[in-house]
């Protein structure tokens, strides 16, 4: 996680700064220390791209000064736990996105990526979002034609990068749903099934909350008339918009099916309860009948001819056996056993 310090040798190796470089004409010019940013912007026409990971407050304050960011945006970036949103300040945009990853135990964890975008700078701040942006930076640098379009393109690349991470997660959730379907409709239904349904629901609700504002953010970026987002870049945001919608729809489908699975689960619990009641009744009957017969021949009447038959006992035993046997067969046939 994080670019090797070597590649940003000029930057003071302060905690939290992963990379800070200036770009001209779509190519990386040089890595620069944070404190030189405003100077660089004034002297050249380069744009600057900074990557931070859970930075301490002083670094963010320094960046605020260098790029003249709005106080409220910086405070949001400090506190994390924001909802995905796009806010327009004079001269800059502030975008908050939520990232998601699957923990070892199969549950979802969420992180956040905040992005400040100006005419000539991009600052990304990751909070608890474990996937490094360095492959993304490498990929962008490999497309100088595109990178030339400036910070707007970097914003697109970042959003695309994050939205693309949702896809495999949704696929994983779909697999969990399919396993649950097997449990519910197979014979493996247990107490844990309900608990697993609930935990899938929880993850879907969380993911939905992360994804659903993204389409709206893209939509607004597509229509922006500010100079920050280059006109050529807009169809790209439509592409991200489209992906976000797709993920969103997929989540909605899963939620709806999960709801149906929960209901099916409840019905099938009732059905199996019913089956158990029937089985209980059948066995009760099978035991009760010979008990009754035994009771009859346990009566103390003086005049009970069967008692005096030589084979009375065996006849009765056979009778009991037949009674039980025919009950058993009858219940089997009617599906009670």
């Amino acid at each position: 996680m994080g670019e090797p310090a070597a590649s940003s040798s000029e930057v003071a190796p302060k905690h939290g700064v992963i990379a800070c470089a200036s770009y001209a004409n779509g190519r990386r010019v040089s890595d620069i220390p944070l404190v030189d940013c405003s100077e660089k912007l004034a002297e050249t026409s380069d744009f600057i791209w900074i990557g931070l990971y859970e930075p301490p407050e002083d670094i963010l304050r320094l960046i605020q000064k260098e790029f003249n960011l709005h106080d409220l945006a910086v405070e949001d970036a400090l506190s994390a736990h924001q909802r995905p949103k796009l806010e327009q300040y004079e001269g800059s945009l502030f975008v908050v996105l939520r990232t998601a990853h699957v923990e070892a135990d199969g549950h979802l964890e969420f992180g956040e990526t905040h992005v400040f975008v100006g005419d000539r700078f991009v600052v990304s701040v990751r909070h608890g979002s474990i996937k490094s942006h360095s492959p993304l930076r490498a990929k962008c640098e490999a497309q100088p034609e595109q990178l030339k379009k400036g910070p707007g393109f970097v914003l697109y690349a970042l959003m695309d990068f994050i939205v693309d991470q949702y896809m495999p997660i949704v696929d994983e959730l779909e697999e969990r749903l399919e396993k649950l379907e097997e449990e519910v409709f197979g014979d493996e239904r247990s107490k844990m099934t309900t608990s697993r349904i609930y935990s899938l629901k929880r993850d879907l609700v969380g993911l939905k909350r992360a994804v659903s504002p993204v389409a709206d953010i893209c939509n607004r970026l597509m229509r922006f008339d500010s100079g920050i987002v280059h006109e050529d870049t807009r169809p790209y945001f439509r592409d991200v918009y489209d992906h976000a919608l797709r993920v969103n729809e997929h989540i909605d489908t899963l939620r709806e099916l999960l709801g149906a699975a929960l209901e099916a689960n409840l019905s099938l619990i009732s059905v199996s309860q019913n089956d158990d009641t029937k089985r209980l009744a059948a066995w009760a009957a099978i035991v009760a009948v010979p008990t009754l017969i035994a009771g009859v021949y346990g009566m103390n009447f003086e005049a009970m001819p069967e008692l005096h038959w030589a084979y009375g006992y065996y006849v009765i035993l056979v009778l009991m056996f037949f009674a039980c046997g025919s009950l058993f067969i009858g219940f089997k046939r009617s599906g009670w056993l």
Copy 2:
């Protein structure tokens, strides 16, 4: 599936190209190789209609070059798994539709048809959508008056073709619902009923997802001011719009009824559980009473006059029989048996 190669003899029989022909004045002029398309467009005023089936990337890239398509649209056409949508690029439209067909085991499978429409070309790309477009092409060619209206009319014909395929599918789903109703309200309710309800739900959700965006796509096509869709063609898109709405509404009705059927199923499971409990109780009572009587006469008191009666045993047997009989009749009357 697919037009016979004979009818496209001039086209190199590359994998994936089903047909590629130019049309003038509503009539097919000639089949042409893919590589000559741009030339053809430049030299004549014909329009070109290409049909592809799961084409390899190089063919799509060739077409992209010939017709100057946007990168993002071509990437979508390559990857499939798109949601139904309409995207407007400079000089062309990109339409994604989802097709559906019923598998042998009664479940729905979905495919996709992507369409690039320009001023003077239409390219359709099928992915997993099993129904060939050749009858459609034949039908269009039989209406030169209409085909004269250009690519917009072909787009209409394609959309109409796909939306018309939904109708019999919805009818089939309705039949499945009716069978389920019989199961639920008849006496055939079983564990499988719940599972069948769930699987119908799954198919309805999938179909809904395929159909519901179509109305919106048509709506936007009806209002388009671009030259691609001829003004005369717009009422036709309203017709498709109307069909899509009808299918949509039908699906909604089925979903609502299915939901009600699920709830009815749950109630009836409870009712039948109740009935089983009552039956169990009734039989328990019928066996318990003679058992009690037998127990009484199994007591070892010295002074029990009945024991010494000559016909005591028989009297008691008759008593037992009557007790059971009257209980049986009583339970029958009150509906417990």
Copy 3:
């Protein structure tokens, strides 16, 4: 059903044409054969009102030619199974409405009425909608002042006629709901109750589907700027709009109450199941206790003084009786029996 052929003696008694007359200044001028319609329109300033009942295709095609109707509208009128809608074509409106009637077995059946309205003609086509329009025609002819307003007024009269038919149907559905409430909350709850709830739900969903688009159709007619609907007629469409809304709201209320009734039904099934379980338990106890006592005195110990008492048997019988009796009273008091 249908006007007597006598009143349309001039019309060739072709299958499907119920009436075809021209009107001037709000009064019926004469009945005319279908083929003379276009001529009539050209020569006079009368307007023509035609009533059809499930006409064969050739008649509709003739009418299409006479009035220059759009192909798509005529195809809709041929196929039936349309959703209620209003479509505007150049020079004419096409309105589809759904009619409803209660079958002998209490279920709803739906029909359709299609109306073509032009500047100077109205053509109504009934499909499976059993109520004849002749009383409506008579009523309109009795109000020449209104009929003078032309086809727009006839359209209003037709819509009013159809919407007014919904009211008694909704009332009937409300009665069915009330009977269901009695069943559910009275002691008549049975397996059939659930099935009746479902069938009422089905009818409500169908009726809703028929009624809900009507308000929107009226709304659009109220705002129309075409010459077809006279400005004076617009408040009348607001009246139909209002009635449609009222029916709609009534249906929504019934649906909501039906949903609550279904839930109440499910709770009460559980409650009564619970009651049955308790009753079963109570009777089991009442029988089990004397059985236990009998078992005790059936033991073969040598030294059991009670067995040798002169009235031991009677004492024990009385004891059993008292045990059962006090259990019975106890259970009665606690509401288990």
Copy 4:
């Protein structure tokens, strides 16, 4: 109910006319007979306020003529059973409101108040709405400054009067919900609980239907540009709007809580069913064990030493007692009893 006839001595004491008076400068000038209204309006600049209670058709027709009301509005006023609405006719508004009151048996009954408002007249028509408007008239007459604003202010006063009646009703419904909560969560849950939940639901649905259109009506009155509603009066309609919203929200909250209470009820029924099953099982075990022991010592083996012990019988009785006792204590501890 109703003003004493004395106060309207000049009015012919026709059935249905409660009051008919003219007002100038915010003060009551004189009571006038209905037939003189149009004359009065022509001669003076007074405005007229008429109160009717379930008037026969001829009176309404007379008023229609006097004030030149639209036919459709008058027909609505005749038939009652309208939904709350605001309709704008040339020169007058027609407002329908629903009133509610609690019957002796605690259920809600609904009435209607229709209001015709013109530049210089207000006519209110009550149908089944039991609360007289005379205190309202008195209150208005006590505020000549306000009454001076004309019919618009009277309309406000009427609406405020009616909306204020909803508040105590909603409070009563809330109390019923609280009692239901006690029933459900206390130990008083019974068959009646479900039926009471349903009946509260019914009342809430009915009240919602009465209240929810009122906010929209006020909203439209606030924005009206007609001379009927004085500009100074508009904030007053916002006040009514606000009250209507509050009642509306309160109803929604109650509905949501009632839904949750219904679900809680269902769970608790299941829980208590479970408890009863456990109790049944526990008692069955407590009786079954000594029955088994008695059965063992009822066997007729020759060699059963216990049978010959002097105190065998007593030992076994004590054993039985201990078995039962320890089972009882065990079940008590585990919460089954």
Copy 5:
């Protein structure tokens, strides 16, 4: 609760007035008596900030006179029980917010804060909202740069203060949900669980009702063109808006999860009922089998060889024991016990 009287020594210590001070250039100038407010406004360009706590009517009426407030707003402020809203009167805004706090027993209680904001005055009125505003006033006074922006900034500070109080409450509700999840999915499920779910639901509905209008209020304040809210202050309202949305979303998530938890609870109750039924059946079988065996050897047949075996009794006892033991093991294995 409440500022010490000392700090407002100049104010007559009337009941309900917590503070009344004038501010110039962002700094507190002096505390002034209520009656001097209008004079102060006329003479200086200071703005006045008044804090009231459940004031008696005469104080509010005095303030109304001093600041020329609208009658309807003052009446709302008197009666409390308002819904959160923003109302614009000529020259002033009236804002109602709901506050929330957790009672000792864990339930939510709600209070209200009403704010009158004018060009040069702010009056806040607390009803049952227990948290004093004095730390807020202190904080504002510590930021003279901001306070200079006038009453609009004070309004922001108040709203921020109130919305910030929601956060810990939502966190507490989330904790309650988590405890409930443990109860439901752990083995601690009881009758109280359902009741606790219901009470959490109640609190969530109440809180939602308090919070959800706040976003809309902020949204309108952000777009206001009146002089009351300084243009620089608008991004601050966007910040409050954002917080309100976040709280809102959090509540929605909790509600959805709570709904799922309720359903899971219902399923698990059924599952555990099922388990109890099985256990009951298993024990019934374990007792019934030896009872049957004892019954058989209690029969009085003359010819039953086992009865005469020397160790017959012991053999049978062992047989009984083995039967019970193998049943026990079998049930254990199949999970019934």
